[in-house]
């Protein structure tokens, strides 16, 4: 008897292998108008993104009856997926002019689906204790005064400016040079490195200044303070070598595959209509990052408390 079962399992396996036809690439995309079908949503690896995606996925599943497939991917890979039909939507995009040019303008596989309503900010941040004890540090003009205090094993005789979540564009080397600061850019190389540095700095009152951004879940835990750089004016960052101004504010937007947009199904309309605020995102991000809720549960909790907002995203009836 036992052997029969093993045999059966092997047979079932063999049948499965034989029974599958050859699928063609690019057929996997959804986008059948009317009925929702499959909705492939990319999950880029940060919590704010996860919050957007979780809420969208929840609404798409519960209200529109879509079959949502989440694909965990880095940005570049996700955009590439528009062309191969494996990704329908990226729901929080930070600028990425290079990707826009490549996939929206040149390859024409992606289109913009409007703002998420969330404003993104990039800049230099210091831990709250430092801002409190030395308030003048929040002006870049005074940074050199403190350069000595920021010295580390990596920056030699200069102050260390900790940089480097590699996902984001940075002008910091040019900034340091053009603002004549006695600092050296040290590439931490990951968000983890930045978060860990700030956490430790706040706890042990250590001197740290680094590149960071908001919205970010850490800011719920530690209120990092932004250092004022020379004001941003359109075009002041045109020449990457000569940048001497702050980063622009980012209007975080949504990008979808062209096919998905053209099919104009309910899932596309939901993505297009989706808009909320920094506070909304922070709330959901807090559920996920601090309260350790599953993204699905966090989304459910927020959606239940914000029925009216969700209603405005749903596709028009009829």
């Amino acid at each position: 008897m036992a052997r029969h079962n093993v045999l059966a399992a092997v047979l079932v396996g063999a049948l499965a292998l034989g029974g599958c036809g050859g699928a063609k690439v690019g057929d996997t995309s959804s986008g059948a108008a009317g009925d929702c079908g499959t909705f492939n949503i990319a999950i880029n690896p940060w919590v704010g993104y996860e919050a957007n995606a979780a809420v969208l996925a929840h609404v798409a599943e519960k209200e529109l009856g879509c079959k949502v497939t989440k694909k965990e991917l880095k940005e570049e890979v996700a955009w590439q997926g528009f062309g191969t039909g494996e990704v329908d939507a990226v729901v929080e995009n930070w600028g990425h002019d290079d990707l826009r040019k490549k996939y929206i303008d040149d390859q024409k596989t992606a289109v913009n689906a409007g703002s998420t309503g969330v404003k993104g900010q990039i800049g230099w941040y210091v831990p709250p204790w430092l801002a409190k004890e030395h308030p003048d540090i929040l002006d870049w003009n005074n940074l050199d005064k403190y350069a000595d205090r920021f010295k580390t094993s990596e920056s030699g005789d200069k102050g260390q400016l900790l940089d480097g979540d590699p996902s984001f564009v940075t002008n910091d080397e040019a900034l340091v040079k053009n603002l004549n600061l006695n600092f050296k850019v040290v590439y931490g190389g990951s968000e983890t490195a930045l978060i860990q540095a700030f956490r430790q700095a706040e706890k042990d009152k250590k001197w740290v200044i680094g590149y960071f951004y908001s919205p970010q879940w850490l800011l719920n835990e530690i209120k990092l303070e932004k250092v004022k750089l020379p004001e941003y004016r359109p075009g002041c960052d045109a020449d990457a070598e000569k940048v001497a101004c702050d980063y622009p504010d980012y209007d975080l937007d949504k990008i979808v595959s062209k096919k998905f947009a053209d099919a104009n199904g309910p899932a596309y309309q939901l993505v297009k209509n989706f808009q909320w605020t920094n506070e909304d995102q922070n709330t959901v991000a807090k559920y996920i990052a601090e309260d350790k809720m599953k993204p699905e549960d966090a989304a459910k909790k927020w959606v239940e408390a914000n029925g009216d907002k969700v209603k405005a995203w749903l596709p028009a009836q009829g």
Partner: protein, 645 residues
Amino acid sequence: MVAVAASRQIPRKPLLVGGIVLAWLVLWLVLRDVGTLPLDASQLTPLHRWINEVNDAVGASRNTNPVFLYFFNEIRLVIDEFVTLIQALIAQPSFGRPVPVIGWLGVVAIAGFVSLVVAGWRVALLALAGFTFLGLQGLWQESMDTLSLTLAAVAIALLFGVPLGIWAGLSDRVHRVLTPVLDFMQTMPTFVYLAPLTLFFLIGPASATIATLIYAAPPAIRITAHAIRSVPRDTVEASESLGATGKQTLVKVLLPSSRKTIVLGVNQTIMAALSMVTIAALIDAPGLGKTVVKALQTLDVGTAFNAGLAIVVLAIVLDRVTTAATERRSLPRWALFGGLGVTGVAVYLSHTYLWAAEFPSDEVEVGSSIRQGATAATEWVQDSLPVITGGVKDFVTWALINPLQALLAESPWFLVALVVVALSFLVGGVRSAVVSAVCLGLLIATGLWQDAMVTLASTLVATVIVMLVGIVVGTWMGRSTRADRVIRPILDAGQVMPAFVYLVPFLALFSASRFTAIVAAVVFAAPVATKIIADGVRSVPPASVEASTALGASTWQTIVKVQLPMARGALTLAANQGLIYVLSMVVVGGLVGAGALGYDVVAGFSQGQLYGKGLAAGAAIVVLGVMLDRLTQAAARRWTNQEVR
């Protein structure tokens, strides 16, 4: 012949080396910061832009290019089907059922039974306990997804790897052609080809399997070849003189006498495959890697550690089963049939009843305690140790890393190149000098000379530490079976525990710095070196050791005069593999403050316009690897030959 040439030069050589280094130091003082070929983080060279354009063009032609339509798609289909089939059997709901074909009870039973047949009672118990533990951690499905992917990748790797390795073992020409290819596969950072892979093979199991495969196959090939080559000449000659054909010699002599080492290669392949689990998760590979990546977005070390531990458990079980499989054993009939019967019933139950299909993780579980324990331990370490560890970091940086880096990265490029070529000539003759010169030329061509020198400095420091650890611990393990038994699981853990799990506390201990990157590289590379050395020390004929002891040699003398010299082959292999493993961690180093080439690769993966630069940096890592590899090998050859004469 080589040895004769070498022995003539010996007396002059140390003097010459000293002279070269001294001249370098003097010229460094004079020419410091001249011609260092620096490149800012956001700067590109024409080469980098050109690579970007090629990459874009390939992407744009994806849907029309026949190579994609008829070649890559077919490969993708076959591999996808293969992985999906394994997943359907043990991991994912399949064939319209809410659960996989075989549930947890069946999988545990099969694991136990297979272990019993190939590896004996002890290992079977370990397999049973290990697999059950995965369920208790609350990670059954994730573990099975990871297991499916690993089994698929390892199966394909061995299918091609072992025959290739045998071929390379038999033929010098194949060996010569294959070696650079393997170097390339092992040292080219995965980040560089991860994005293009998804372009070729789409997002999903196929890409993840192929990424794993590329990294995991080389150890199998390399170590198989090494095994075949180290069968004593006399044995082969004896076989041939008895009139055996080439095939007979291979099957009856070469393979049986190298079986143990070949299995070491299989082990390394499994370990390498499991160490790719987290990186593969970045392109949506299912399994434990996803849990780790997700947990670390919020620096949740507890959850990440729990998932990492599951990877370690899988690795240890698979390793022990394959290792024990080298020894022949026969099982009594009743045990064989009894085991088969029990397994069959378990499989049937797990196919039919829900309790045996889905692990009842709500009722019994240890996952949450592991998570809490790991979190508490991390917090303790982060709160209480940084005072000491920060000092250690500052000292090593000041005494070792900074001077070496200053010398390499702040000298003019031509000076460094001259010194390296001269040293290569002294070590390995004209041939080595030419290889080094070509490699240095390629480094300059990548446009990343200074970054390469910074990375080289850290790599050298890390490799030296790896060898120190390897020799000390490896010798200890080689001499004591008990030590081996205790230390080996720790080494396995170091090799397959996803780096990011320990990078979080490391970052707290050492901040974002080059030293952190070096520590991470040592954690990953020292186990390989240690295992190889332990294996080498253990295979020193007991007679030699006994003779030495009988002659009144102390333990220290026995180790230094007998065991280590006789394990020379293993030592060089260890240095070689240690170096390559260190280089394969350069990218991880880039994530924790090493900057230079590692950061270039990471940024290239994340930012489209830096892609070309990232690829060039990846190539620079490979070139560094090839150059150092050839140099160590040439040095090792000299050393080995001298000792023999």
